[in-house]
Symmetry: C2
Subunit: 203 residues, 2 copies
């Protein structure tokens, strides 16, 4: 059933993807509407009609990022046979995703808006929520490992989840600083050197 009114002349998802790239590279506050409309190939009224405001566009961009970029990071975590392998793959995929030549380096969720409270800068609060959700995913994988028997009971799942999330965030900054895939991989390996002391079956 065709909708009434003039059909939109642009592909909303493609435009949103362009906006996502600019927000990812320059951050919420470092990105102007002029830059966004230019990257999207649209005039301002079209952007506002489709997305509402700069803040709502950012929110949509973050959702698009979560769905399409870095999904392989979390796939790797859950697909591995053991929790240890999952965390190693998680960090390895992180290194790959954060250093692609054809994308902004580092993670939009980690870096896109780090200043201001959620009430002042809603973008900031939203990214914080995403980061907390990511820790929960890591925590869940550890609980699964305990259930599967490849992670001993009694380990501090929260500590381990928060540690590896912290490493991942640090890898974002490292990538943004020009760190190479090799450097990020070596950092990932260093982080995995902690595994036995944290969640090893031997003590």
């Amino acid at each position: 059933m065709p909708a009434r009114g003039r059909p939109r002349a642009f592909d909303r998802d493609a435009a949103l993807f362009c906006a996502m790239r600019v927000f990812w590279e320059q951050g919420y506050e470092g990105t102007s509407m002029a830059e966004l409309t230019s990257a999207m190939g649209l005039n301002a009224p079209s952007v506002y009609a489709a997305f509402g405001s700069k803040a709502e566009l950012f929110k949509a961009a973050v959702e698009a990022y979560s769905e399409h970029v870095g999904a392989e990071i979390w796939d790797a975590l859950s697909k591995a046979e053991t929790a240890r392998q999952g965390f190693a793959d998680f960090l390895d995929q992180t290194a790959l995703a954060y250093t692609r030549a054809d994308q902004p380096h580092g993670c939009m969720i980690a870096l896109g808006a780090l200043h201001g409270g959620a009430d002042i800068v809603p973008a900031c609060g939203m990214l914080r929520e995403k980061r907390l959700e990511n820790i929960r995913l890591l925590h869940e994988r550890l609980s699964q490992g305990i259930e599967d028997g490849d992670v001993p009971e009694g380990v501090d799942c929260r500590q381990i989840a928060e540690f590896y999330a912290t490493v991942q965030h640090g890898m974002s900054i490292m990538a943004r600083d020009g760190g190479s895939l090799e450097q990020l991989r070596r950092t990932a390996a260093a982080a995995m050197a902690a595994w036995d002391g944290l969640a090893g079956t031997q003590s």
Copy 2:
């Protein structure tokens, strides 16, 4: 010998410290000159006369931060008897410094300007240089440890330095997300669990 001309009516260092606090909390791009002049208790012409521009004020603020905030982090690194103890103390002091109730959480060097190239956003390039310098300090301490005999020869000092710098950066984001001193300390302990696998005397 008194300087000619009307004496400045404000304490430059005190004003600079106020500006540093705002930049630290809100980042370079998230901070307006209106907010800076208000925090410094000055009118704009006084700020520009003393510091030149927003970018130069930021540069001075970063130097003030490096000299006065977090100095105990690097003191701890060098004062310990062994490299291992130094790194543990380094991370512990990091946790303390990043979570003080009376200061912005996290590190200004890590978080203050993460978007834009050095040519576009000089603030960004300056912080990146500071982060690289910090890695060099970590690397030096490891080299010292090899010389002192408490770090085996042949360890990958670069990997270890980059790993612990990465963890420290991640701790900034964790602190900015409201992570408590206890949480940061547990993450620091998790990071130290990697030490034996990276720079231990046994293998």
